[in-house]
Subunit: 288 residues, 2 copies
Amino acid sequence: MTGSPVLFIVDASGPRRVDPRGPHLAVTDWGVTRGDGIFESISVIAGRMPALEARFARLEASARALDLAPPDRLIWTDALRMAIDAHEPVDRLAVTIVMTRGVEGGDGSPTAWLLARAARDFTRIRRSGVSVVTLDRGYASDAAEGAPWLLLGAKHLSYATNAAALREASRRGADDVIFTSTDGFALEGPTSSLIVRRSELIESPAIDAGILAGTTQATAFAFFESRGFRTRFAAIEAADLVECDAIWLVSSVRQAVAVHTLDGRGMPVDDALTADLNRWLGDEARLE
Amino acid sequence: MTGSPVLFIVDASGPRRVDPRGPHLAVTDWGVTRGDGIFESISVIAGRMPALEARFARLEASARALDLAPPDRLIWTDALRMAIDAHEPVDRLAVTIVMTRGVEGGDGSPTAWLLARAARDFTRIRRSGVSVVTLDRGYASDAAEGAPWLLLGAKHLSYATNAAALREASRRGADDVIFTSTDGFALEGPTSSLIVRRSELIESPAIDAGILAGTTQATAFAFFESRGFRTRFAAIEAADLVECDAIWLVSSVRQAVAVHTLDGRGMPVDDALTADLNRWLGDEARLE
């Protein structure tokens, strides 16, 4: 039972439910002609929305980065609630919120929608883990400093290079990517945050390296702290990744996947710890 | 007299004319959710298509860079001809060809369309020139080497940073941008190629610096050669721009605009030469 996708177009008059199979966007929407817009992914677990506050905060930060009007939390919360009610009950919904700059020659109002779908089942990959290749992202770790127009750290629609990196990984027989900076630091995945373990220390790259503030990453840190690990943001040298005691990629819908192979070399994995982490991430709705 | 835009959706069954005011794209099109697609702009001058061969070649190169199926030149030429016939006669049509990766969960076929519109009148800015700021593009000039997933040099839909750079220019009171590499070279504009003059030498940045091969730039070189200038591709230091005898940004529809101000400093302009260059670029249809 997965149910049918539910789509709401959101404009000044509020959320309006439409047929998700139909076309709804003009070919002159800046979202498609320039990838000029922002998005956010929200997991709905058993009808609840974990870390919603953090996701709204990130959506607002993305809007600021792109000089878009701030999203109205009341309208979006309303739309989220309506979408959850409209969708057939499922264990987990994957909801995407998108706001583009609107239509070329239009009145300046954004094009916005919310799409709710039964989340893909990632149970298997959460258990099996992934093989990963490191790929250069072309930027130095300080590229974002003083260059806000690079939009590093904003969750925007111009993800063609992320998609290309994932195709490159596939060509190399791998499942996923860890981006590295030109000055040798590990950054993030194309659609996930990076967490590493070194003994009892859990680390993620600092977001001033021009990466996305991970909302699932923050929840994962809370898990590790509850288990007695120390957590911190740090500059993680890409060359040191192979020395780590564990590497995870975390994101809202897929949750945590252990990296069992890095650039063709086997990595240690802790199946029990990964399972516990995923239980925590999947349970977070009940914890709030 | 500008006439109404003409839109053709292009799929396996060929070009199909549709109402350009209507919605034609699904919210799950990879073109909008990931900016995952390519485009090309074509000027139609008095019914003719200058440099069409070069633009098809660039579209094909972009398709290769993004692992998209090569566009079928026959179908697109057909669609171009139909759009020109369908549009009210105008001096100049601006035609955009777009191909996206298609719809999420679809059959893998691209979403493709051709939009023909009367070109905006850029006569005034061709005469008045533009003020420009240099902005760091975050990449070193050798970033493209060995990192094809960065898609440098492909004309793709993930242009949010280009749009953000133009907004930054506007905030600084300027009209346009010249991107620079982290290692200090001048690259290109967000939607244009860069040409500089040093005495009787005309230069453009080499495309192995990860910039777009300019089709209008190539036509402009032909003009300068016809006037006895030497032309060449070279590494142009951003710091040397202020020493140049002239700077132009060139693109297919706006053609050549002289840079009269660079980062707030006045630059020499040669109105007569710029006018001649624009006459050549506007005439190119008759030259082929």
